[in-house]
């Protein structure tokens, strides 16, 4: 089942003339979908450039083979995928499967694969062709979203439970309830209705909850542009002094829209809870870029530091407006982009949020 043709020829063979191939390559790159085709009789296997990238290779750097493909599949998923392909050849049924792969650098990714069988005049399978796309980020994003929705539901049901019990208590115990218990129940009712109202308001005010248009696409994003856009998108209170220090060459692997939302949430948080001097800066190592948003406010209440990225957590002392969702979203968006968000207290007071993302520009440029 291995291909005997040299990789370059194998890749370009039968994929059409040069302009058609170029167009196809663009479509593949933009859609982040790789294509493969296996001619069963000759064992010839063609991988498109994007298929190499999905599997963590540079186009043409390995010889396409069924064995190489199988070896890249996570050992726990391999038997199932192998069985599906063998069944497709036998029964001529197409298949679709999500499975993990292990890239040459050791990274485990989730891939969505589909395969289709071409049957010859004699009724035998002639060719198997398919696509593969990396769905790691979108799967991670939907898992985060699912968790988030479940947290929101919990946050709605909790005050509802007290409201339901209050109403039932007042209804069921007309004469039996002592006046002070009755008054206390009415107070609970009012308090829990306000709580419900603030959850509803929190959901409405969170810009970052807007549905994501299209898919998530992690591409090199210029940090300077992303920061400038976030600053112009979030209304700044009059008295706040904002200083920005972002080296212009820095680029990170991110989704433009998600990075904008994450930075916007950090800025809103600093505007609402920080003092009147806010610093936004970016620093880099060879591999990562750290974007920090610092303020000179009171810092995060030590009582909530461990849970500050969980939904609806607010400082007990907080009197400023805020939903308790902004940091949650910034944190989750960082994870979705393969990065992280951390908090440190600033010496002398204040909060420092650091968003760390993979660097994509050439670090060598720094040293020139």
């Amino acid at each position: 089942m291995s291909a005997d043709a040299p990789p370059d020829r194998a890749r370009s063979a039968e994929l059409g003339d040069a302009p058609a191939r170029r167009r196809l390559a663009s479509i593949e790159r933009l859609a982040q979908v790789g294509f493969w085709e296996w001619t069963i009789g000759t064992g010839e296997l063609i991988w498109s450039d994007e298929l190499y990238r999905v599997f963590g290779h540079e186009p043409g750097d390995v010889r396409p083979s069924y064995e190489a493909w199988l070896a890249a599949i996570h050992p726990d998923d391999r038997p199932e995928v192998q069985a599906l392909v063998e069944r497709a050849v036998r029964t001529h049924e197409s298949y679709a499967v999500d499975h993990r792969i292990i890239r040459p650098d050791g990274a485990v990714r989730l891939v969505h694969g589909r395969g289709d069988v071409e049957v010859g005049p004699d009724g035998e399978a002639v060719r198997l062709s398919g696509i593969a796309s990396d769905v790691t980020e979108s799967r991670r994003a939907s898992e985060h979203l699912h968790e988030f929705v479940s947290e929101v539901a919990h946050e709605l049901r909790t005050p509802l439970a007290s409201i339901q019990s209050s109403v039932d208590l007042l209804r069921l115990t007309r004469q039996d309830l002592p006046p002070e218990a009755r008054d206390a129940t009415m107070t609970v009712l009012g308090r829990q209705v306000s709580r419900l109202r603030s959850v509803a308001n929190a959901l409405l005010e969170i810009d970052a909850l807007r549905p994501i248009s299209g898919g998530i696409s992690l591409v090199p994003v210029r940090v300077e542009h992303a920061v400038a856009q976030a600053i112009s998108a979030v209304p700044r209170p009059d008295l706040v002094l904002l200083s920005v220090d972002v080296p212009s060459q820095l680029e990170v692997k991110a989704d433009t829209e998600l990075l904008g939302r994450a930075l916007g949430a950090l800025l809103s948080n600093a505007y609402q809870h920080g003092g009147d001097a806010i610093d936004v800066r970016a620093t880099a190592t060879d591999f990562d870029v750290t974007i920090t948003v610092e303020d000179d406010g009171p810092g995060v209440d030590p009582a909530v530091r461990d849970t500050m990225f969980a939904p609806f957590v607010r400082s007990h002392a907080a009197t400023a407006p805020g939903s308790g969702l902004g940091l949650t979203l910034a944190h989750r968006l960082a994870l979705v982009m393969g990065g992280r968000l951390t908090y440190t207290s600033r010496i002398g007071g204040g909060a420092r949020f650091s968003l760390v993302l993979e660097r994509t520009d050439d670090a060598e440029g720094d040293r020139l």
């Binding site: 919990h154 909790t158 439970a161 208590l169 069921l172 609970v188 308090r191």
Partner: protein
């Protein structure tokens, strides 16, 4: 009936305690899992109302600290309204699962069906 109520939400704990006391029951209150564990072994508790999400350990960990007989006297409650949690609660050996919000009549009918423990 003597009821151990494990609920970290102050308002709901107050309301349920009031409702149960008006109904003639004796209520022991616990606001977290640690407090709950110190009471579950009490020989005269007829029923445990156990919230799943607690500030220290969760309701399932409290349940794990109980013997099988005590688990059969436990009703779990949660605002995480998924079916998976309900079946997990029943599989863990507790008597019933009450999704929040619930009506006091639902709680009352569960309690009415519950056998009062025979003094051993």
């Amino acid at each position: 009936m003597k009821i151990l109520l494990v609920e970290d939400e102050d308002d709901l704990r107050f309301l349920l305690t009031t409702a149960l006391e008006v109904g003639g029951h004796e209520v022991i209150q616990a606001a977290d899992g640690g407090a709950a564990l110190s009471h579950v072994a009490a020989p005269d508790v007829d029923l445990v109302l156990l919230d799943i999400r607690l500030p220290d350990i969760d309701g399932f960990e409290v349940l794990a600290g109980m013997d099988a007989a005590a688990r059969r006297r436990t009703v779990m409650m949660s605002a995480h309204g998924d079916a998976e949690l309900a079946s997990r609660a029943v599989e863990a050996g507790c008597a019933a699962y009450l999704p929040k919000p619930f009506r006091l009549e639902e709680l009352r009918s569960i309690i009415d069906d519950f056998p009062i423990r025979q003094a051993s």
